[in-house]
Symmetry: C2
Subunit: 295 residues, 2 copies
DNA sequence: GCTGTGTCAATATAAATAGCTGGACATATA
DNA sequence: TATATGTCCAGCTATTTATATTGACACAGC
């Protein structure tokens, strides 16, 4: 199954070679003879991959039991022999692509990261730290604005691709995601959009730099249960506070207003009726709450 | 063939029904029995579609010869009975989706427009006028910024999708496309990127609001023959002039510097070594020139 | 050179997708 | 109501894409 190849990072050929030569796993077969991997198979494979990356060779590890494998991997990890996790690898590759101003490579890396890791880990462990890292490198003068902008375009594209590829159920709860007036960094919002879509929401993504009235209008139009706003730039704290309150005032009382992003701490305590989003995980948790008991 | 269905805008069912009931066309068959439409078939179908859209009914028109059909369609066109072209239809649908703040619908419309019309006509006859129309409607206060931004996100996404789906030859000539410092409207640049990619160039798209030095650096890095900049906002004319000259100064003399966009007229005559791009067609023509005699 | 391991090629088969036919049905319009 | 036309369904066939198998080859490290 292609899925397994993607998740483990092994090519189908290697997967078959391991099975043939070492009997690493012994997946069931479909009636037509195609491999059907169980969750246990996948775990086994992942463990072996980790062990191999840590320098061990395939043959000997192949015959170990799940238990022994787990112990082995844990041991390697303690000794620091273990290679960084997959996500970290991708992150490194991605950042290198950014630094080299190689948008096509960046896109390729991000897409394969998404496929290998799955959406949640991709968003949490690759995209989020990548953006952070780029931001820091930019402040440190290590990369230029062009790098940052080109990378933004690619990341936005990959996130859009992710959102597109997700099927949203017809009766999905609805959310609006946007940036307040003055906020021009839209990637946080794009990230939130991707996470929410993956969590089964139908999200109207409105983009950067929007007056409260427009956001409220969209929320009304789409009858959304949740409005998420992303606040990145700390310099805008004062105006962001004002805009948030304004927005809270215009929104219907039943509509939840959630605010998140790197700029949130600068805002100080939030008013009643406005919920702070700590991070993506928190955002997902909040969405689960607001999706209501039907889900 | 799906292609025919897309090009004519008819569903496969209708296509078959017309053939079965009225014998509009009589396409050849593959050895497996699937229809193989000739160019003549396609022209015939397109003509009949036009006639039908002009209010005529299928049955009678089906038996006419190509000649008669052409005359008929020309007649209708003169009387203004003819419906607008396909591209215009899409444009209308797309604008309606924008006005309704329905990003998903907009995306669906744009994608099917792209598939029906092909990239060149899509870019020239749908996206370009759509952006113009949105701009005008926004100035007139008919749509809000949220509409404009949400639409931008979708258009950008579709353009990125288009660029992604194109195969770029390994030895393709290279270009850099970007917006100068102060310019935050990046859609013109995205449009140019899509057009150039479709014309067989490998384009590094850098995004909005970039200092000249960064653009020049990217051009050097990628060894590009052409640097395209998009200038939209007329208020920036003075700064844009300065940035352009600066950029011209840093770029290697052999690198062509092309500038285009709605803001160009406000700039007045351009300096030596900077070429004005009148529109997308002109941009394509310029690219053909700079691609060199090898193409 | 031998071993362990990844990759590739040729050929065959499975699964998925797209298309075909014939017929029923819905809807609008005269 | 009758006609014209678009749409849908069920069951079947083509075409395409993904996998499977087997055997060969490449290459690093001992």
């Amino acid at each position: 199954m292609r899925l397994v190849a993607e998740r483990t990072g092994l090519s189908p050929d290697v997967l078959r070679a391991w099975e043939r030569r070492y009997g690493v796993v012994n997946p069931g077969r479909s009636e037509g003879g195609q491999r059907l991997y169980s969750d246990a198979d996948l775990e086994r494979l992942t463990l072996v991959v980790t062990a191999v990356q840590a320098g061990r060779s395939v043959g000997p590890t192949a015959s170990l039991s799940l238990e022994e494998l787990r112990r082995l991997v844990a041991e390697d990890a303690e000794q620091g022999t273990a290679r960084p996790t997959l996500a970290t690898d991708y992150l490194e590759l991605a950042f290198a692509a950014v630094a080299n101003l190689a948008p096509e490579e960046l896109q390729a890396v991000l897409r394969s990261a998404l496929l290998s890791l799955g959406a949640p880990s991709f968003l949490d462990d690759v995209v989020t730290p990548l953006l952070q890292q780029i931001g820091e490198a930019w402040h440190a003068g290590e990369v230029g604005i062009a790098h940052e902008h080109a990378a933004s375009a690619v990341v936005r594209g990959v996130l859009a691709w992710l959102v597109d590829s997700l099927e949203v159920p017809e009766n999905a709860p609805r959310a609006v995601v946007a940036c307040l007036a003055g906020e021009r960094h839209e990637l946080g919002a794009a990230l939130a959009t991707a996470a929410a879509t993956h969590a089964g929401w139908r999200v109207a993504y409105l983009g950067p730099d929007l007056p409260a009235a427009e956001i409220a209008d969209a929320a009304l139009r789409h009858e959304t249960a949740v409005v998420g706003v992303s606040i990145i730039t700390p310099e805008n704290a004062a105006s962001a506070r004002a805009e948030l309150q304004l927005l809270r005032g215009i929104l219907r009382p039943g509509t939840a207003l959630l605010a998140g992003g790197a700029g949130i701490p600068a805002l100080g305590p939030l008013d009643h009726g406005i919920t702070m989003i700590r991070d993506l995980t928190h955002w997902r948790a909040l969405l689960r709450v607001y999706a209501g008991p039907t889900r």
